[in-house]
Amino acid sequence: MSLRCRRPNRSGTVKLSLAAVALAATVRAQPLSDLPATESGPLSVAVTTLFPGGGSPPPESPLVKVYQGNLQYISEGRRLFTWYNCYGCHANGGGGMGPALMNDQWRYGGRLDQIYASIAQGRPNGMPSWAGKLPDAQIWEIAAFVRSLSSPTSPNTGQTTPTPTPPVGVPPPKPEAPGVQTTPK
């Protein structure tokens, strides 16, 4: 089994973290063209809805039907989303350094193969390109998870805007020494 197919495990140590550096370095060397043809992505998807002279988006990749809504792939995609630090920018779908993924607003298209393409190619405002760094199947799994964040079946949709979390009601513990703990009056 080549390193690119190795599944990350959950046991957490510093040693593992440093091993992941090596993992990342190794997968980087894997060119996309070496992947099986069936796993090659639709890197020619349109990211616009304008087609001069008429026309329509290119046909959907046949792999969309394989991955979209598949709970096993979505579950795996959720784990990889954390594993490859996607959550560091996109949080749990609400966004941060990167845009929100749970509001069904898609700058570069929300079709599953368009999401796949955004992850594989990267996007100019700061989305890194993961093509050749992750196995193709993992990109599809992450895309399936991302798509699910705002799909009609997602538990995240249909909510109203939340009210702020109630403030911390319990005053901080009494100071051990005068003037060093609570807000001085």
Binding site: S17, Y84, G88, N92, M97, P99, P162, G179
Partner: protein, 611 residues
């Protein structure tokens, strides 16, 4: 005692004697009171010339203007004189500069530099300079694509770009003089801080503490941008510029290569300790002071050890970069308590003796008073609710942790105060020698925190925590606190609904200016905190107010309006309020911000109409 030191001491004594004599002659207050008033060292806070040439106003970082035309008696008449749209609707954190009747503004990414002609009605644009930073740099900026401003030196406006360049632009013509590449976005490095120029050297540090970068500060020759020295904040002593001149006060900093030994093997290479905040300079001691950022990753269980030299304060020789002392505000930080906040230099009485101190209102919730010659902590008092630590042990300098609030893998620890963003974050305080008070803009927030295992992949976030912030005790998420550093207590507090993310300005008119994230720009009485005037700008304010004397001799107050930064990322980045972990947990504290303000990027300049 060297002759130079003798002269210095003699001059000081003479000055003090003269001051006491004048005071005694006036017979208004006891002579001792004059001696005890805290004040910045004169060498670091020269007489105000009515300009504003660096974000902190002076090397002592007082943000105090000696202008007093606008005061409590006429501030009600303050009105807009002119505005200017930057065309960039992201968080506006920069301080406008005013030099030779020209105003200079730096925008967030794409870091455009505008020059406005103050001698003409409406302050028309003189020129603009576009550095065209790498577009992708936006994706490795942790907390909005902010820039904290430029600095003026010898005919040049010098500032940094998000993608890691330092640039000098001719202040008269807008032509680029030099440009030096310092950061690499593919390693997660950006630059957001405002540089400081000391003795012809441009001091710059990197950002990227959430990306596993290795933090550094560097000095460039202000004339040509060439590297003079560079000091890292992790790794072997030779990289940190720790040598025979290094004399830290506390024992825990006194061993060889602690920047390696206080980390798991090789973890120091990706350990953080960035410099994205403020630098102060004492010309008498010839020392610069600045802080280092959080260790990476946030998940503390992946980096056992003190993690030197992150989350602490360095004193260095600006000529060589050689470290003189270091104090670690937070050894082995567990809560993202960067130590990069502003440092204000004051000479003030401590236990009856005048001491040269630095004041640091820190992320961890304590206001530190530190002997700036030695690095000894003289006091550390909480200026907001704190439960992550019990107190600062003044014998060792170390915080006493509250074990209930230590962070754990796979366990959500609730109601930790303060948050990762701290009792205060980057937003700088001001000090008035007239009131002796420090005006601290800050937040009142707490958080839930869960450590998660994180892998290092260069150019991607290296965080390892799920954080959800919320309002602190009382429910008001922001405060402006007036703090007496001698009596070590708050004198008054102005509470705000939203975190106060703007800097503060205090003037000799005894007014404190600051902005709110709803967009109110306020003037309050420096002695009482009473609201004297307010104006609603177009967007939330997270910028740095400044005061200057215009070509017509009038006093003006300037502020950039435009919400964003870490606190305003939900609006600036259009994030989803349904996810409280968004923006590294800050969205949890301000899910209502989109109902209170919208993005913007506009300069507002105010004055009292001529009578």
């Amino acid at each position: 005692m060297t002759p130079a030191m003798w002269r210095l001491t003699y001059t000081r004594c003479a000055e003090r004697a003269a001051a006491a004599l004048v005071t005694a002659a006036l017979a208004l207050v006891p002579a001792i009171a004059a001696e005890q008033a805290p004040a910045p060292p004169a060498s670091a806070a020269p007489k105000d010339d009515g300009q504003w040439t660096m974000p902190a106003k002076n090397y002592a970082a007082t943000r105090f203007s000696e202008l007093d035309q606008i005061n409590g008696g006429n501030v009600a008449n303050l009105r807009v004189e002119f505005t200017f749209s930057t065309g960039v609707n992201r968080g506006q954190e920069a301080a406008p500069l005013v030099v030779n009747n020209t105003m200079y503004i730096v925008t967030p990414y794409p870091n455009i530099l505008f020059a406005l002609d103050l001698t003409k009605p409406g302050a028309p644009l003189k020129w603009e300079y576009q550095p065209h930073p790498a577009v992708a740099s936006q994706g490795v900026a942790c907390c909005d694509v902010v820039n904290r401003g430029a600095t003026f030196w010898d005919g040049k406006i010098i500032y940094n770009t998000l993608d890691g360049d330092t640039i000098a632009v001719d202040a008269g013509s807008g032509e680029e003089i030099w440009r030096t590449k310092l950061g690499d976005i593919n390693r997660g490095e950006t630059i957001t801080m405002a540089p400081l120029v000391v003795k012809g050297k441009v001091l710059v540090g990197n950002s990227g503490g959430e990306f596993g970068v290795r933090g550094w500060i560097t000095a460039l020759d202000a004339n040509n941008g060439k590297l003079v020295w560079k000091a890292f904040h992790t790794g072997p002593d030779k990289d940190v510029l720790i040598g025979s001149d290094f004399h830290p006060y506390y024992d825990s900093d006194k061993a060889q290569d602690l920047g390696v030994k206080t980390w798991p093997p090789q973890a120091w290479m990706i350990g953080g300790g960035t410099v994205w905040g403020w630098i102060a300079y004492d010309p008498d001691l010839n020392l610069i002071y600045y802080g280092t950022g959080n260790p990476g990753p946030w998940n503390q269980e992946q980096r056992p050890g003190d993690n030197k030299w992150t989350a602490g304060i360095f004193a260095r020789d600006p000529d060589t970069g050689a470290a003189k002392w270091f104090y670690q505000t937070f050894p082995h930080d567990e809560h993202d308590y960067d130590s990069v906040n502003e440092i204000i230099l004051l000479d003030m009485p401590v236990d009856g003796q005048t001491r040269k101190v630095l004041i640091r209102p820190d992320r961890d919730g304590y206001l530190y008073v530190i002997d700036r010659a030695t690095g000894k902590v003289l006091s550390a008092d909480a200026y907001g609710p704190v439960n992550s630590t019990k107190r600062i042990d003044l014998k060792t300098g170390r915080p006493i942790l509250n074990p209930e609030k230590e962070t754990r893998l796979g366990q959500t620890v609730r109601d930790i105060c303060p948050t990762a963003s701290g009792t205060k974050d980057w937003e700088p305080s001001a000090f008035s020698p007239r009131t002796g008070l420090i005006y601290i803009p800050h937040a009142n927030l707490c958080m839930d925190w869960e450590n998660i295992q994180v892998n290092y992949i260069s150019g991607t976030p290296y965080v390892g925590a799920n954080v959800k912030m919320k309002a602190g005790p009382g429910g008001n998420r922001g405060v402006l606190t007036a703090w007496d550093p001698v009596k070590r207590k708050a004198v008054w507090e102005d509470k705000e609904d939203l975190p106060v993310w703007s800097g503060a300005l205090v003037t000799a008119g005894d007014l404190v200016f600051y902005g709110t994230m709803e967009g109110w720009f306020k003037a309050v009485d420096a002695k009482s905190g009473e609201l004297k005037w307010q104006f609603k700008t177009g967007s939330g304010i997270i910028g740095q107010p400044v005061a200057y004397r215009g070509p017509d001799g009038r006093e003006y107050i300037a502020i950039l309006s435009g919400v964003g930064g870490w606190a305003g990322a939900i609006v600036a980045g259009d994030l989803d309020p349904k996810d409280p972990t968004a923006a590294l947990g800050f969205v949890g504290a301000v899910p209502d911000l989109k109902q209170k303000t919208t993005p913007g990027g506009t300069l507002y300049v105010f004055a009292v109409p001529p009578s």
